[in-house]
Amino acid sequence: MNLPERQVVIVGAGVAGLAAADEIARWGVAVTMLEEAPRTGGHASRYSCKALGECVACGACLADERRRRVADRENVTILAGVRISTIENKVGFNIHYEHRNSQEPPGGLKADALLLTTGFQPYDPSDKPYGYRRFPNVLTLLDAEDRLQREGVLTCPSDGRPPERIAFIQCVGSRDSRIGHPWCSKICCGAALRMARLVQYRRPETVVTFFYIDVQTFGKNFQKYYDQTRRQVRMVRAIPGDIVQSEGQRLQLAYFDPDASRATEEPFDLVILSAGIAPNTDNPSLADMLGVRLNAAGFFHPHESDEGRKRSGLFTAGAALGPMSIAESIDSAGKAAWDIMNYLKSNGLSKF
């Protein structure tokens, strides 16, 4: 079969994939992006702007900008809603894919270089004792982002009213060896606190309680932002034991109060779980097709590592390598773009 030849194929059109496509396509290289979801942008584009009058450097608008730039590039083809069925590793890669929700016939591509930017899978907290999927007013941070983006304000799913009292629970599905996730997801402290601050900025009477183990640094201006945050958000160093739903959809949250040194309960209107970053569930099958191994956590090894170097022409960037913020994903994509351009050049495949 004669497959259309593309120089670079990027698997996953989230922020890392888009940023890399933008960089590589500038040099006139033909790029095709394969994306499972019906649209590009990935998880990064689900985040809303968290500016409090001033930008707080969350990076969400950068993801959006990359998406617009790539859409304008003539030498980038985007195939959305497709799933890779096989990859033949020859010289380069022969990639076959199917359309997920349409009758279109399967297709194939030949690539000189393959970039994996498959991102992450948000942890599903259904197994945690927090009533996720059972109580309407228990959301993950990304669920809350979706609501915020759709409606412009954050409201309780049960009745559409703005919540008076919100609890954030951190490290849900992260830093947890019992479920085999002995890593910090890195982005959720920043994402949750920015969300908390935005809600209060728009509706100052909202009472926010933040349940945490440790607060991770985010942004260059962390100290100042965090000092302000501590004055507005009630910080409680405890991870709640469970949540039960009482009358009127109120959520009763049980935790060990570190100040009083005793177990206590408290009602909330809305609980937001900082569900962690887990490896993309497609990683094992992709790794299998490509003949590479994943790291212990289930993410890909960097392409410059011993394991990553095993397959020449294969590159990885973004959260496919592990938890990363939007800005870090863009950095990682830039590095991968540089490596890919050098690879194409050294193989006489592109001027650079």
Partner: protein, 536 residues
């Protein structure tokens, strides 16, 4: 290119060297300059002797010219020379300052910084485990927050030491910064090996140096509600990573913005990853932020790509030309001060350097003599069209206000597009006029829109801190205030002007802002009737 070097790199650390090698690998001529007088470390990287030149003991005196051809006056051994370079990268290594004082301690043979402690361990001395038990205290992330890159070094060392026989470690931290890969697992391994972790928010431990040189720490434990007092043979304290001291001088000569810590590059996501406020000048690695060694190398690669893009002319699209009419210019220097991109030079006439100019129009909007013109046809024609077109005003039926929204092309305009594609209905009488930056709209623009029959004018820019031109929103908001004062003289209320900030991804907010404004203007009625009312 008629220049001696394609790129001049300031710095000589891993990041700078890797960057120089990357560029040299593409056949570009690179010079590396360092302030330090140590000549022996300045051998060009092996295999790159032909394309990489390095100068030690350099001091930058001046930088002239423009992107693609910078002329740098450099002093070396008391000699001045002018070097020409197409692009510049600032990649100076940061400095590590031990936090002894932060914990009320002073440096001694038993009170060590993390760098000292690492060196001792690598030396093998601490690893020799003969003799009795040794108790070591790690102090991290209290009084001042610690960057995770340094916290990772503390945690790794703590775990390594704890795993040696006869070593007992206690780790006291405000927060365990575990966001670096592998650190949560490292903490768990240390804990499993016997490290005691103490964390605290309000009540901080008391540490003091005993006469015999050892250190005593008393610490209130939140969970057990007990005060522990322990004596340690050694204490390891964390470090603060600060910008290289040469950045002060470099950024002044190169006219580069810095963040609040002094790193080159303002804390503005528009600069990510390696851009500075000046085209053709880049920041990499530890010169722009705190980074781990791996991140610095990765950043060197990204910066090399950005430099290559710039040198190939792939970084800049077609932009409108900006010109100063020297006949009108009074040389007040307002534009020189306003230009965020260092694109205006006195040669000795005020001149816009075309390669450096980003066409943001900030200079134009601020020039008191209207001596600057931005050849931005879109804006001009949109305004002209407004001036000539008669406002559609149905004789009967409800009053539909005519609104002009001056929108920044990087923020409010994409937000408008997002609103439209998400199905939001925008007010009927809305006319959007786009400019490359919100700071490009002058008081004259706003007033002429009203003169042309608008009932209300919005100026919508990006959020402060997110502006590609750094000060677009501040300038725009100031101009809206000035325009409001002018309106008052004509008996028109300031409510007809609205200044707002939006990010490019705020479609719903764009729709809400214009809708609320439309309602406000609808209730005010046409300008004429308001004037008549106020005057009578």
């Amino acid at each position: 290119m008629p220049t001696q070097y394609h790129t001049l790199v300031f710095g000589n650390g891993e990041c700078a060297r890797s960057l120089a090698m990357g560029l040299s690998g593409r056949g570009l001529k690179v010079a590396m300059a360092v302030a330090a007088p140590v000549a022996d470390k300045l051998e060009p990287p092996a295999g790159h002797g032909d394309t990489i030149t390095s100068w030690a003991g350099t001091h930058l005196i001046a930088c002239q010219g423009q992107p693609g051809d910078f002329q740098l006056t450099v002093e070396q051994d008391g000699r001045r020379m002018v070097q020409r370079a197409g692009s510049i990268v600032v990649a100076e290594q940061p400095q590590q300052i031990p936090n002894f004082a932060v914990y009320g301690l002073s440096s001694s043979g038993r009170v060590l910084s993390i760098s000292q402690a690492e060196a001792i361990l690598l030396d093998g001395k601490a690893a020799s485990t003969s003799g009795g038990a040794i108790h070591i205290l790690f102090l991290n992330d209290w009084n001042e927050h610690c960057h995770p890159v340094t916290a990772a070094r503390m945690l790794r060392l703590c775990k390594t030491v704890q795993q040696l026989p006869n070593r007992h470690t206690v780790y006291m931290a405000g927060h365990l910064k575990v966001s670096v890969e592998g650190m949560e697992a490292c903490c768990q391994a240390a804990k499993a090996a016997g490290t005691m972790f103490f964390k605290f928010d309000r009540q901080r431990p008391q540490v003091q140096m005993l006469p015999d040189g050892r250190v005593q720490a008393s610490c209130w434990d939140d969970t057990t509600r007990i005060t522990f007092t322990m004596t340690f043979d050694y204490v390891v304290v964390d470090e603060k990573i600060t910008p290289n001291s040469t950045l002060d001088h470099l950024s002044r000569v190169l006219r580069l913005d810095r963040d609040l810590h002094g790193f080159v590059q303002s804390d503005n996501v528009q600069r990510l990853s390696n851009a500075t406020n000046r085209r053709g000048i880049f920041a990499a690695g530890g010169a722009r932020a705190v980074m781990s060694p791996e991140e610095q190398l990765s950043d060197a690669a990204h910066a090399a790509l950005k430099v290559s893009e710039f040198l190939a002319g792939l970084d800049k699209g077609e932009l409108p030309r900006v010109e100063i009419d020297t006949a009108r210019c009074a040389r007040c220097l307002t534009c020189y001060r306003l230009c965020p991109h260092g694109a205006i030079e006195m040669l000795p006439r005020m001149t816009v350097m075309p390669q450096a100019c980003q066409s943001c129009g900030l200079c134009m909007a601020g020039c008191p003599n209207r001596a600057i013109q931005v050849h931005d046809d879109q804006l001009t024609s949109a305004l002209q069209q407004m001036m000539t077109e008669e406002a559609p005003r149905p004789m009967n039926g409800p009053f539909i206000p005519r609104l002009v929204a001056f929108c920044c092309r990087r923020s409010a305009l994409p937000a408008r597009d997002m609103a439209v594609s998400a199905g939001h209905r925008l007010p009927d009488g809305l006319v959007v006029v786009e400019g490359l930056c919100g700071g490009r709209f002058s008081v004259t623009h706003m007033l002429s829109a009203l003169e042309a029959g608008a009932d209300g004018v919005l100026v919508l820019t990006c959020h402060p801190g997110n502006c590609h031109s750094e000060c677009g929103p501040t300038n725009a908001s100031r101009r809206v205030d000035t325009a409001a004062q002018a309106l008052a003289l004509a008996d028109i209320g300031a409510e007809r002007l609205h200044f707002g900030t939006l990010a490019a991804n705020m479609g719903a907010e764009f729709a809400r802002t214009v809708e609320q404004f439309a309602q406000r203007i609808a209730s005010l009625g046409p300008v004429m009737s308001e004037q008549t009312m106020r005057r009578s």
